[in-house]
Amino acid sequence: MTATATVVAPEPATGAGRVSVARCYRFELVKLVSQWRIRLLVLACWIAPGLFVAGVSQQSTLPADTLFGRWMLATGWAGPLVILGFSGTWALPLLTSVVAGDVFASEDRLGTWRHLLVAVRSPRRIFAAKALASLTVILLLVAGLAASSTVGGLAAVGNHPLVGLDGHLLAPGDAAGQVLLAWACVLAPTLALVGIGLLGSVVLGRSPMGLLLPAVVALAMQLAQMLPLPVAVRLALPSWAFISWNGLFTSPAQLGPLVIGIVVSLVWAVTATALACLLFLRRDFTNLTDVGSARRAVAVGLLPLVGLAGVTVAVVASATGTTGSGISQDKVQRSLATEFAHLYRMQTRQLNRPAVTEAQLKAAATCNKGSVRVAAEGPGNDWRCVVSWHLPDVEATGTAIYQLDVTSDGRFVADGDGPKEVNGYFLVRTPTGDAPNPLWQFDGNVVLLSTSKG
């Protein structure tokens, strides 16, 4: 430093006027990426899933309680779906909390709002840039989760066919497409959480609740999905889209619930983001206390979203005409029989027996729930089913027993109860040695909407 340094002449700076959204967006990205926690998250999302999938795929104990977890030894395409299920429950809500839930609050914490406003001179552009920058980082994280788990799975297990949720086989190419589509579908509920994160960050400022809001809302919605709520309420929550991608892995795909979930999520995303924008533009930046009011948070942040939930429930209920849990005896029987037929063919191939088609098998299921005095409908782990089938040129009818645990979101786990040669033991003896018995335990799902076949 020299005391005689020449002062920059006070001529108009180049680029005078309002700063463009693109420049502001780059500025926000620089700030986000310079944070060590964001760098750490990017690194973790691009590395950890791959290592996890590769590691688990080498073990004999599989995460069978997670959808597609029991197929991780069979195909590399199961890994990204296991990570997708985990992400919808934990990773994505937490990631959106850390990124979107903090993108406005960080300026409050650092006391940089005034600096930013003087530099950019447009609150509207600041909001747009912040929303876009946080969305970019979240998309980068989601892409990392998907890419890393896919690479890990394919590298550790290989590019093999994937067994769908109704037991049909997806060729590797089809499995790749469906896995990619499933990850794309969960972007919609992720956007909804981003919107909620932006809203929390704007309304609650430095309060820790602002940061935690997406995670708290996601947790509340998950709890709601676990309760025996009417199916219209279930489908009207954005978190439904974290579940409804399951429908892509049946034949035909269960697109109705999936589309409803995506549309609802996008409506939530737009509404929450618009509310956040409105509140941000009304903020008084000369008054440092003009943030964090609990009354305001409830009045302008929470109540509109509660109202939106009510409206979406009404719209979904009237559009689908669905009431109750959506899980009926007929749907469970149809779903189980269909899946059993597909998996029976797989077992037949394993055992090197003569090929048989689903049409020839004429599989059917008879299910009851708990006591015979109780109506066979709704979720529960007390479903008991007897599956029957026929083989060509065989007079006798084959039967097998299953215990079903049906959860309120329509997913079920079928646990074979015998006979041992069919579904009572976890291994089958094949000409090449013992192999996992596909009929022993398997996952399936019941479509909740009455308009589709389960």
Binding site: V8, A13, A16, L117, F285, T286
Partner: protein, 348 residues
């Protein structure tokens, strides 16, 4: 004359709920001037600086900055830079990265934006590549000034720029501000450091409870003000004390306030009476080694005016040409507001 005014404010008012932050503020700041803003806490300084930076809009009144009327939307006019309540810095970025990000935001290439030059001006070259997380308050202040300089402002608005500065840092900042003003940049700064303001500012505005209680040159403030205490160090303290005691308009106050000292004489007087005393001392062959106000004229005026304001609850009655000018401005503002109201009514 308007073309030479960087700021022209008439009847600016701003309320936050029931709190009146600014109450009919009039302000004129000439281009190339360093203008000080003084006032007790809660006087409205930060609110006024916020208006100048485009962080808020006034509830009523007219504001022109650099010849451009300020509208009803948030936005600082072109050529305005600065900070209030401390500079905004991102702790995860280095000093250089903070400035580069700001330059990029303004559409300028970081390599040609003059980042090294402004860092050099504020004395932060040595820590240019350190993250600002570990910066002291003084370093943050200097980097905030560098960030403002990077935009090549024509109006620089600074809130307490000397906070946390060591003597070397203060020298850097004063040097930069003085040179900027010499080259045509207008600087408006608020400070509680009267010595800073006296060293830098040609004019000051004193605010109290949202109103202007004085606005004008420092010399005028001293001349308009009441008696001040002066500290005299002479070659013959005994004789000097005797002469001071007998001088018209001069009171020896050191005994009264307990500042008794063999060498130091403290007297209370208006400037003309003090001038006469100095002449008599010199005529008597007494060497005057030191003469300085015990409290600076600005600080004394600040204390007197703000205390008066708080006691009265209204601005003190101004007299003379300044008061007439202020009254004329108020009438001007009121007439303009009335015209605007009529226009709006007609527009409906």
């Amino acid at each position: 004359m308007d073309s030479l005014r960087a700021i022209r404010a008439r009847g600016i008012s701003k309320c936050f709920g029931d709190v009146v932050a600014l109450d009919g503020i009039d302000l004129d700041v000439a281009q190339g001037q360093i203008h000080g803003l003084v006032g007790p806490n809660g006087a409205g300084k930060t609110t006024l600086l916020g208006l100048l930076l485009g962080l808020a809009v006034a509830d009523s009144g007219r504001l022109e900055i650099l010849g451009t009327p300020v509208g009803r939307t948030f936005a600082a006019p072109d050529g305005v830079a600065g900070f209030v309540d401390g500079p905004g810095l991102y702790p995860s970025l280095t000093a250089r990265q903070n400035l580069a990000a700001l330059a990029a935001l303004r559409g300028r290439d970081a390599r040609t934006a003059g980042i090294d030059e402004v860092l050099d001006q504020v004395g932060l070259t040595d820590v240019a590549d350190d993250r600002t997380r570990g910066f002291s308050l003084g370093m943050r202040q200097r980097l905030g000034l560098a960030a403002a300089l990077l935009t090549r402002p024509r109006l620089l608005v600074l809130d307490e720029p000397s906070n946390g500065l060591d003597p070397a840092g203060k020298k850097h900042v004063h040097g930069v501000l003085t040179r900027l003003a010499a080259e045509g940049t207008t600087v408006v700064l608020s400070s509680h450091r009267m010595d800073d303001l006296e060293a830098l500012c040609s004019e000051v505005t004193i605010l109290a409870t949202g109103r202007v209680v004085f606005s004008g040159p420092l010399s005028k403030l001293a001349a308009e003000n009441r008696e001040l205490d002066y500290r005299l160090l002479t070659s013959d303290p005994q004789t000097a004390r005797r002469l001071a005691a007998g001088a018209p308009g001069v009171r020896v106050v050191d005994d009264a306030v307990g500042r008794q000292g063999a060498e130091v004489l403290v007297v209370r007087a208006l400037v003309p009476a003090l001038d006469q005393l100095v002449a008599r001392l010199v005529e008597s062959g007494i060497a005057l080694r030191e003469l300085a106000p015990v409290v600076s004229p600005l600080e004394a005026a600040f204390l007197a005016l703000t205390e008066q304001q708080q006691q009265a609850g209204t601005p003190p009655q101004e007299t003379g040409p300044k008061a007439q000018e202020t009254e004329a401005r108020r009438e001007d503002a009121e007439a303009r507001q009335e015209t605007e109201a009529q226009s709006q009514e007609a527009g409906r």
